[in-house]
């Protein structure tokens, strides 16, 4: 479980996070949603420790990263896997080398064991056929899957996904969402997904936190999202005609 307590972050006098508190539960897909510029990426980067918050606390199962030194933070980061918006695979390495990289850096297993583990993770994301290809030789969806394999290769306790569906077609997006959710349940990981893809919200939103203008405006799950009473969230989610119709159908069925 990850707990954010009264997080405040300011950039050049502009308060981007305004006293945000939230709990992200283990074994669940926790979603951070919000409009562009609402502060959701800053919140995620602060949780991961890329940004240091000005005040407040961020607790990883009781361990406060805001008071950790670089060495302690690096130790904790070995329990973290992260999927970046652009996949962030290393261009100079093949898919297999990319997935093996965290093992090469931190694991004392034999070469064979590392190889087996990396291939197992690639099999899990259905990429066994692409092990010898370079990131530039595979599609965006395959890159995302390879990045997921790399993120889970060290059996992380915490998984972060920054806009996992950006640039992907709806079908591939659904596959990636499902994969993240399955992995979360399978390994009981605390997963935090930063997204503004409404399909993801509806499909895998087990714990949703809505950030509006740097503040937590709402928290709930995908079933509760139709009647939140939170106007900024309604404006955000039901902006398109399609989702207005879905809401209408949902209300009629009730």
């Amino acid at each position: 479980m990850i707990e954010v307590q009264n997080a405040i972050k300011t950039f050049d006098g502009n308060q981007v996070l305004k006293n945000v508190s939230a709990i992200f539960e283990a074994g669940k897909t926790n979603l951070i949603i919000g409009q562009s510029g609402s502060g959701k990426t800053v919140l995620m980067k602060s949780i991961v420790g890329i940004h240091r918050i000005d005040s407040g606390h961020i607790l990883y199962d009781g361990r406060d990263i805001t008071i950790m030194k670089r060495k302690q933070l690096n130790q904790l980061r070995r329990e973290i896997g992260m999927l970046f918006q652009g996949s962030a695979l290393f261009d100079s390495m093949t898919v297999l080398e990319n997935v093996r990289f965290p093992l090469d850096m931190f694991s004392d297993e034999t070469e064979d064991e590392k190889d087996r583990r990396a291939r197992f993770c690639l099999e899990r994301v259905e990429l066994s056929h692409a092990v010898d290809l370079y990131p530039s030789e595979i599609s965006g969806g395959m890159q995302k899957r390879a990045a997921i394999a790399r993120a889970i290769v060290l059996n992380p306790k915490y998984l972060f996904c920054d806009e996992p569906n950006s640039g992907l077609d709806p079908k591939t997006s659904l596959l990636i969402d499902k994969l993240i959710q399955d992995i979360t349940h399978e390994f009981n990981i605390t997963t935090i997904i930063n997204t503004h893809d409404m399909n993801s919200v509806m499909e895998i939103g087990e714990n949703i936190i809505f950030i509006n203008k740097g503040e937590k405006a709402w928290q709930g799950n995908s079933n509760e999202i139709y009647n939140t009473g939170c106007q900024p969230l309604e404006d955000f989610i039901f902006a398109s005609e399609l989702f207005k119709k879905i809401k209408h159908v949902h209300s009629s069925n009730k």
């Binding site: 991961v48 890329i50 980061r77 973290i80 992260m82 962030a88 290393f90 965290p102 850096m105």
Partner: protein
């Protein structure tokens, strides 16, 4: 950002860079790769430029020192000392600042804007140490070879002028390049090369590592890396010459 802040940021980056690698096996793998990329792949440009400059220096020396009072071997002597003292270290490093420096800055800069460096940091890898240390150590260890190759082929270039033209005789050139030879000039040049290699690789890494934005900024950081490395090479050249030769 002002100059003092940049120097502080550079020093802080070097503090993170110059530490024990997380895994020596990975460090050596990268080190060998960097030696190939920065050293072996630069060999052809060093050979071509040094040969032609060696030839041109010889021709210019003959044409501009047509004085009966000067001994005939003075052309070989002047060519040798110019190559040994300045060309093979300072000028060659200025050229390599363009090739190697821009390569380092754009490579690391691209990794920064595509979040590959963030990915390393999130994994708990010391990204500065992992990416920059192999580049600095590889370039500092391969540069003496490049300097020595440059000296050798530069002198061969001058020799070719004697063989293929009637501007200077081979005998006069041979006497000149052997006359009053001071071995310390080679050491001096190698020392300068090592210092300049550190400047090129570390300054270029700094500009790449701290880039913010997109492709345009990577291009700008690459240019800044070459310009600032060149200025620092010229500055340190004066300081080292004063320190080592006077």
């Amino acid at each position: 950002m002002n100059a003092i802040e940049k120097v502080g940021e550079y020093a802080s980056l070097m503090y993170r860079t110059i530490t024990k690698p997380d895994r020596w096996s990975i460090f050596w793998k990268q080190y060998v790769n960097e030696v190939k990329k920065q050293g072996i792949d630069s060999l052809w440009i060093v050979v071509i430029i040094s040969t032609f400059i060696g030839a041109v220096i010889t021709i210019q020396m003959v044409l501009n020192t047509e004085n009966p009072l000067l001994p005939t071997y003075s052309t070989g002597l002047a060519t040798r000392d110019t190559l040994l003292l300045e060309f093979s270290s300072s000028i060659m490093c200025l050229i390599l600042a363009g090739k190697v420096g821009s390569n380092i800055a754009s490579e690391i800069g691209t990794m920064r804007i595509t979040e590959q460096i963030d990915a390393l940091d999130i994994m708990g890898v010391n990204s500065a140490n992992y990416l920059i240390l192999p580049k600095i150590t590889a370039f500092m260890t391969i540069i003496p070879c490049l300097v020595l190759v440059s000296m050798f082929v530069g002198i061969i270039g001058g020799y070719c002028v004697g063989i293929f033209t009637d501007i200077i005789t081979v005998h006069d050139y041979e006497v000149g390049i052997q006359y009053a030879f001071i071995p310390f000039y080679v050491t001096y040049s190698v020392i300068k090369g090592i210092v300049f290699a550190f400047i090129i690789s570390s300054v270029s890494s700094y500009y790449g590592y701290t880039v913010k934005g997109g492709a345009l900024e990577v291009g700008k950081s690459s240019t800044d890396a070459v310009v600032n490395s060149s200025v620092l090479i010229l500055l340190f050249n004066v300081m080292l010459t004063k320190l080592l030769l006077t």
